[in-house]
């Protein structure tokens, strides 16, 4: 393969990857709207004292993907401060969400509003589920 075709192949894959990410985000948005929006709201701003904001939240933009995966899969109901505030509602589990769907919704919340934390891949979610399972034992 000559240099030019190598380059265009790379370019092709890059475009494909970008297109794939856009598709992931669209799918993530759909999941967000049907399962999450009611509590975390359309602007990701949450509801004071009830449901935490996802927009600008340090955990959502952070590096601990395994924790985020666990919250989506198992739900979340702990008396902990999130960015210094407490929230009183209980988040239900989503046991039926497949790995890919979890990756898509996490990609959506990490790249929407003011968040710029970047995509979460299906393989990251799989690894996180294995890690969370091991931690449980």
């Amino acid at each position: 393969m000559n240099k030019v075709s190598k380059f265009s192949l790379l370019f092709f894959f890059l475009v494909l990857a970008q297109w794939g990410n856009a598709q992931n985000k669209i799918n993530g948005k759909k999941i967000y709207e049907t399962r999450c929006l009611v509590c975390h709201q359309s602007d990701g701003g949450g509801v004071p004292n009830m449901n935490p904001p996802l927009d600008g939240a340090s955990n959502v933009n952070g590096k601990d993907i395994a924790r985020l995966v666990k919250i989506i899969r198992n739900g979340y109901d702990e008396r902990v401060a999130l960015d210094g505030m407490y929230y009183n509602n209980a988040m239900a589990a989503n046991p039926d969400l497949k790995e890919e769907a979890i990756a898509d919704v996490l990609t959506y919340i990490r790249t929407s509003w003011s968040n710029k934390a970047g995509v979460v891949t299906t393989s990251q979610v799989k690894a996180a589920l294995v890690k969370n399972k091991a931690a449980k034992k």
Binding site: E33, L37, V38, Q41, S42, G45, P48, R79, N88, A92
Partner: protein, 418 residues
């Protein structure tokens, strides 16, 4: 030169005053009423109570920047604005009530009593008497609002730590538990003796049940009866998209206002009230299909309000300052919704419920609006965008009413201009 600066500063004041002090503190009121900010930024003020001399006590949801969770506000120079403000206590909570020479306040699991001296100052801020403790606090719906009857009994709301008593709370497809075990210790109003110390569940009595979460309650002294406002259930559309559209969820179920007699059951979680069909409907978690009518054993609401607006306080107006139509009617504050999403949110106002011959007429109207602070009353997508959210209500000795806000902690004073 001195004259000139004086002139300039007078002109400056004249121009800046209307900007600094918004007309009626930004509220929209019926003809003849006026409002001003009695206080601002005192911390998340939940319920408020006022003594016979006009001292205001506010219970905060959590400690404010001074580390206090109860604030005392006095308008010593009588200009309508608090000028002596101080506080104490370290426990967040909602309930506060003045009864005789005592001040009662609640945390999310207990009720405490303080003693007031002749100047309405608290004698024992650091050593309150525990009246009730050990009430369930599982975070969801944990605030404990309090009121008194004309004897010395306390009525306290214990909210259900659940949305619809599903086996798994807020999990799509999870069935409702039958019977709902939560109702043994929550989801109702409990009655305690206001003069006895150290009571818990076994000393009290479940006075009314089937109430998911009540934050606003008040004793109607003209009919000698308890009235409560319930927060209806959430998320019909997200759990049952085949039965309820987003638009239907935004209108269902009603926020309900009840007259509660001892032993009454308002039906949560088995039924909800549909304000469009004007009847009780069986909850989908209990086999309902959005039309099946609920049992007649459950209480009919006195008034049905639009869904999800979150009633926070009830105040029967007994003053003489307002026009006659308000006398012995009820004011209800609405915090503003979140569960109408993706549709715009509603509420953020104080409503008035007229009473005739000791009964609610079933009608209601908006009394004070504009708390959210949007341009031209524009709709709000997310309640966190509201400038103020109405919460507590209380009547002053001169017949004015006070409305607290639990975002930054404004207290509005509303009076009638004869």
């Amino acid at each position: 030169m001195k004259k000139l600066t004086q002139l300039v500063s007078v002109a400056f004041l004249a121009f800046s005053l209307p900007v600094l002090a918004q007309e009626n503190a930004g509220l929209k009121l019926p003809e003849g009423f006026k409002a001003n900010l009695f206080a601002n930024n005192i911390g998340a003020a939940r319920h408020i109570a006022i003594t016979k001399s006009g001292v205001v006590f506010a219970k905060l949801n959590n400690s404010n920047k001074d580390g206090n969770s109860i604030v005392r506000l006095e308008d010593a120079n009588n200009d309508g604005v608090a000028d002596k403000i101080n506080g104490w206590a370290k426990y967040g909570g909602t309930g506060i009530f003045v009864k005789g020479n005592n001040l009662y306040a609640s945390s999310n699991e207990a009720i405490f009593k303080y003693e007031l001296n002749s100047k309405d100052e608290v004698v024992n801020p650091l050593a309150p008497v525990t009246i009730v403790s050990g009430l369930i606090d599982r975070r969801q719906h944990n605030s404990k609002s309090i009121t008194f009857d004309m004897a010395n009994n306390i009525y306290v709301n214990i909210g259900a730590y659940s949305n619809a008593c599903q086996e798994k709370d807020r999990m799509p497809g999870s069935q409702g538990m039958m019977p709902c075990p939560i109702l043994d210790s929550a989801g109702g109003i409990w009655k305690f003796d206001g003069s006895k110390e150290n009571q818990t569940y076994k000393d009290g009595k479940r006075y009314g049940t089937g109430l998911r979460n009540v934050i606003g309650l008040d004793w109607n002294t003209t009919t000698n009866q308890l009235y409560v406002a319930q927060h209806g259930r959430d998320q019909l559309n997200s759990f049952y998209p085949n039965l309820y559209s987003d638009a239907q969820n935004a209108e269902l179920p009603a926020e309900t206002f009840y007259e509660i007699k001892e032993g009454d059951n308002a039906g949560w979680p088995y039924i909800y009230y549909d304000p469009i069909q004007h009847r009780k409907i069986v909850s989908p978690e209990y086999g309902g299909d959005s039309k099946k009518e609920g049992s007649s054993e459950y209480k009919e609401p006195a008034v049905a309000f639009p869904a999800h607006m979150a009633p926070m306080a009830v105040l029967f107006y007994t003053g003489n300052q307002f026009p006659a139509k308000y006398k012995n009617g009820a004011f209800i504050s609405f915090h503003g919704s979140w569960n109408r999403a993706p549709l715009p949110q509603e509420g953020f106002f104080v409503a008035f419920v007229p009473f005739k011959d000791g009964k609610a007429t079933g009608e209601w109207e908006i009394f004070a609006n504009g708390f959210a602070g949007t341009e031209n009353g524009a709709k709000i997508a997310n309640p966190s965008k509201a400038k103020a959210r109405p919460c507590g209500l209380a009547q002053g000795p001169d017949g004015s009413i006070y409305v607290s806000d639990d975002t930054k902690g404004a207290i509005f004073k509303i009076s009638y201009n004869k």
